[in-house]
Amino acid sequence: MRHSDHQTYPGINLGDIDPRHQQRVETAQFGFWVFIMSDLVYFGLMFAIYITMIDAQAGGPGPHELFDLRSLFAQTVLLLTSSMTVGLASLALKYHLGLGRVYLWLVATLLLGFGFLTLEIMDFMNMAAKGGVPQRSGFLSAFYGLVPLHGLHVATGCLWLVILMIQMQVVGVTDQIKSRLMRFGLFWHFLDLIWIGIFTIVYFGGLAYG
């Protein structure tokens, strides 16, 4: 096991590379942080819209009729676990625990992501069956503007992860691919954070105030 020295980017092991490439990786990581910040503004605004529209149910079904807390619990467990598995993949990469483990944790992440998406879509279908469609009210529009936006991010993340695993095969686990994996991890943790906002504000907040 080799610990990172001052030359390497925290959280990732690029081996012995020259400072210019180090600088390049750092720039890309920083740029991705800035992108996430911008994306966060999107979500922040959608949360704000949801909060202003909690009462705009226009006589349609509200949180108490529509929200299924058991499914919510399962979705939360799947997504938070997937954040852990992606963390384990990063650690396996960083401490040279073998590519097998990296793949193992990445595939686990992917499966958990799929599981989450499946439950979420089933949730939406159940809601629709009870008349909870976005066309029904401002409240439901705000719900469907926010929660599936997160789902779309998760789906994009799954696609990204599939492509990354193909690239690990085709291109090899190069510095570039490692730095992409690092950014994927950031993205995935970010989606977890948004989900925590969703279950507290959208679901619990909706049940408390809706």
């Binding site: 720039t27 920083f30 009210s137 401002g138 503007g145 085709v170 291109v171």
Partner: protein, 696 residues
């Protein structure tokens, strides 16, 4: 329409062409609409013909469209902005003509007039001001901080592609279908499906969303470039003022563009999927739109004007041959404006039902912005005080700005008072105000910047005489067009009215249309200046690269600069790094050694995404679902395939750099230095004799 046809073509039919309306209903209105379409089609045909006739397709593709060089991308942004500016100005002239046609209905139909003010606003903000500013940042900022490119060159190219394809949608809307009639702000519920089922608002939505993504990516790119890629020794407090304004502007882009994207996409959800975000029924709330739009809209004006302030800061310092007065206060003022710009959005709708207290808070916040802006005005004047002032073209724009912008700013302070705003909101007073800040503030700065940096980009100076004519025409045209609008606004003439009755408005409308014609001449004079300068370029060459005795790093390299900008990255020891180098005699020294330089390879991804996103938007506007879906998949595939290409750079060998750089250094040694008295003379080959007493 049969179901097969509607599956293939969506809601697109032959009636979408303006010629159909002309045949059915011949009249002035249709003639104007068709003439506009004809100008566009003819213009495009002429460009295609010239490209084919002079066999320019190859060079255009290799040197420009696939380039990832920040300098070329910057130039393309500015060319695009100028093309769109021509359309925006023409629309302004037609609108002034309509209102000058006397009491009554004029010669245009109400819907056509509404399209004109909607496209005029949308174009001038999103497709003139933004690309102009982004173009300058692209060209200048990496040079000023001593970098070889921006942080993400390919993303930069994609940004340009998305901005241009958004602009193209406005052009397409001229020929196929119609544009929105909802103004540049596109307030629902008017722009919702219930009141506006046509294609107009959809053109607006997608043009804004796609170009907005492009601008957001630019903002990320610029911020990261400044944070991570400054030359050794270039601490933040040594950054040129322009770069400070770019940081603030980038931060504004990163935080302010998302609200616009959200507003437009939610409006799209309402229109396409029958959601109820902003509808009148089922719990929709249009105030959410107003808040979202202006959460973007107010920072937007500062993200445009801050880099303009940056350009003026460079111009005043250079043409006064003095260091910028009050650098630290300018930095603080810029940052203050950036922060305050997020706290004032509500002043765009004082009349829309908030409590008096909330209005008062936002009114006071708005007035506060006058303080840092005032600091800037004094700093610029103090920079000129006892300087070695040359009244060159950029300087003339700058002085015009100082006087006119203060008037515009003061009318803004007047409007910031909610009680007064209740009287004059939605009148031409407001139109006069924002044109008074945007023309002298942003447009004059852009034109000053063109005159100032053109020699750096192309290696020869612009014609001074035509430049002066241009300044005169812009300033006079501006005064004649917009000063009368303050008065009719106070007299109660509403903005955006295609028809009016009160005869006392008439004289003002006549003066304003004369002004609009002068502005048209001003636009032509810019083109004449360009033509004359290219024709006489042999007399205006500045190969050494420092025609104005510049102070910042971009003047320390050849004009035009090599692809890699700096043969050896500069070591910065002070603010105004190049002025310091000239003073201490360390400018134009032969470096001790050279290294290989890696530059980003050309790529066609930006161009492909430009074309495909254009098709995608068109398909969505016309409900051609199969095409929209197909293009979405195609764009995804292109990005995925591109991500497999890991050889993204070419290496320029040190030997080649050494040879090129030393050839230029020899040229510098052979070139006679000129005094500031000969700045505009053919003798000015870009080698400045330092005569800045106490300048650093």
């Amino acid at each position: 329409m049969s179901s097969v046809e509607s599956t293939v073509f969506g809601r697109l039919t032959w009636d979408a062409l303006p010629i159909a309306a002309l045949i059915k209903n011949p009249g002035t209105n249709e003639i104007v609409a068709n003439a506009a379409g004809a100008i566009l089609v003819l213009g495009a045909a002429v460009v295609l013909f010239i490209l084919s006739y002079f066999k320019l397709w190859g060079p255009l593709w290799r040197d420009w469209l696939t380039s990832t060089d920040h300098k070329k991308l910057g130039i393309m942004y500015i060319v695009f902005a100028l093309v769109m500016l021509a359309r925006g100005v023409l629309e302004g002239v037609v609108m002034r003509a309509q209102q000058a046609a006397g009491p009554g209905d004029g010669f245009l139909e109400a819907g056509h007039f509404a399209q004109l003010f909607s496209t005029h606003g949308t174009i001038m903000i999103f497709f003139v001001a933004v690309p102009f500013v982004v173009g300058f940042i692209n060209f200048i900022m990496p040079l000023q901080i001593g970098a070889r490119d921006v942080a993400f060159p390919v993303m930069n190219q994609i940004s340009l592609g998305l901005t241009v394809s958004g602009g193209m949608m406005l052009m397409v809307s001229l020929v196929v279908g119609e544009f929105s009639t909802g103004g540049w702000t596109a307030y629902p519920p008017y722009t919702g499906a219930a009141f506006n089922p046509g294609v107009g608002p959809d053109y607006w939505i997608w043009a804004i969303v796609v170009s907005g993504v492009g601008t957001t990516l630019s903002g990320i790119n610029f911020a990261v470039t400044i944070y991570k890629m400054r030359a050794p020794g270039m601490g933040f407090m040594r950054l040129p003022m322009f770069c400070w304004t770019v940081i603030c502007s980038s931060i504004l882009i990163i935080f302010a563009m998302p609200p616009l994207g959200v507003a437009a996409l939610l409006l799209a959800a309402d229109r396409y999927l029958d959601f109820h975000f902003f509808t009148n029924d089922l719990g929709g709330n249009m105030m959410n739109y107003a808040n979202l739009f202006w959460l973007f809209g107010h920072p937007e004006v500062y993200l445009l004007v801050l880099p303009a302030y940056g350009i003026y800061s460079e111009v005043f310092a250079t043409f006064s041959a003095k260091k910028l007065y009050g650098y630290v206060s300018l930095v603080i003022a810029t940052m203050s404006i950036a922060v305050l710009s997020f706290t004032v959005w509500l002043h765009h709708f004082f009349t829309m039902g908030q409590s008096a207290l909330i209005n008062a808070v936002f009114g006071v916040a708005t007035m506060l912005i006058a303080i840092p802006t005032g600091v800037k005005v004094y700093d610029w004047m103090a920079t000129m005080y006892r300087g070695r002032i040359r009244l060159s073209v950029p300087m003339l724009y700058g002085i015009g700005f100082l006087i006119l912008f203060v008037i515009g700013g003061l009318s803004g302070v007047i409007l910031a008072n909610p009680t007064i705003d209740f009287q004059v909101h939605n009148t031409l007073f407001l139109v006069a105000h924002f044109h008074n800040v945007l023309l002298p503030g942003v447009l004059f700065a852009m034109l000053a910047g063109v005159n100032y940096w053109f020699p750096k980009a192309f290696g020869f100076r612009l014609d001074e005489r035509w430049g002066r004519i241009s300044v005169a025409l812009w300033v006079v045209g501006f005064l004649f067009t917009f000063m009368p609008l303050y008065f009719v606004g106070l007299m109660g003439m509403p903005r955006r009215s295609f028809s009016w009755e009160d005869p006392s408005f008439h004289p003002y409308m006549i003066v304003a249309v004369i002004g609009a014609l002068i502005i048209l001449l001003a636009l032509l004079s810019v083109l004449v200046q360009l033509y004359v300068s290219i024709r006489d370029r042999a007399r205006n060459l500045v190969p050494v690269g420092d025609p104005w005795d510049g102070r910042t790093l971009e003047w320390s390299i050849s004009a035009p600069p090599p692809a890699y900008n700096y043969a050896v990255l500069p070591q910065v020891r002070d603010r105004d790094a190049f002025a310091e180098a000239k003073e201490s005699g360390s400018a134009y020294l032969k470096p001790t050694g050279y290294d290989d330089i890696e530059l980003p390879k050309n790529t066609s991804i930006g161009f492909l995404l430009c074309v495909l996103s254009g098709v995608w938007m068109f398909a969505l506007v016309w409900w051609i679902w199969w095409l929209a879906l197909g293009v979405t998949v195609l764009m995804l595939l292109i990005v995925i395939v591109w991500s497999f290409d890991t050889e993204t750079e070419i290496v320029i060998p040190a030997a080649q750099i050494k040879q090129e750089h030393e050839a230029w250094l020899d040229l510098v040694a052979r070139t006679p230095a000129v005094d500031r008295d000969d700045e505009a003379a053919p003798a000015n080959l870009g080698y400045a004799r330092p005569d800045m007493e106490g300048a650093t």
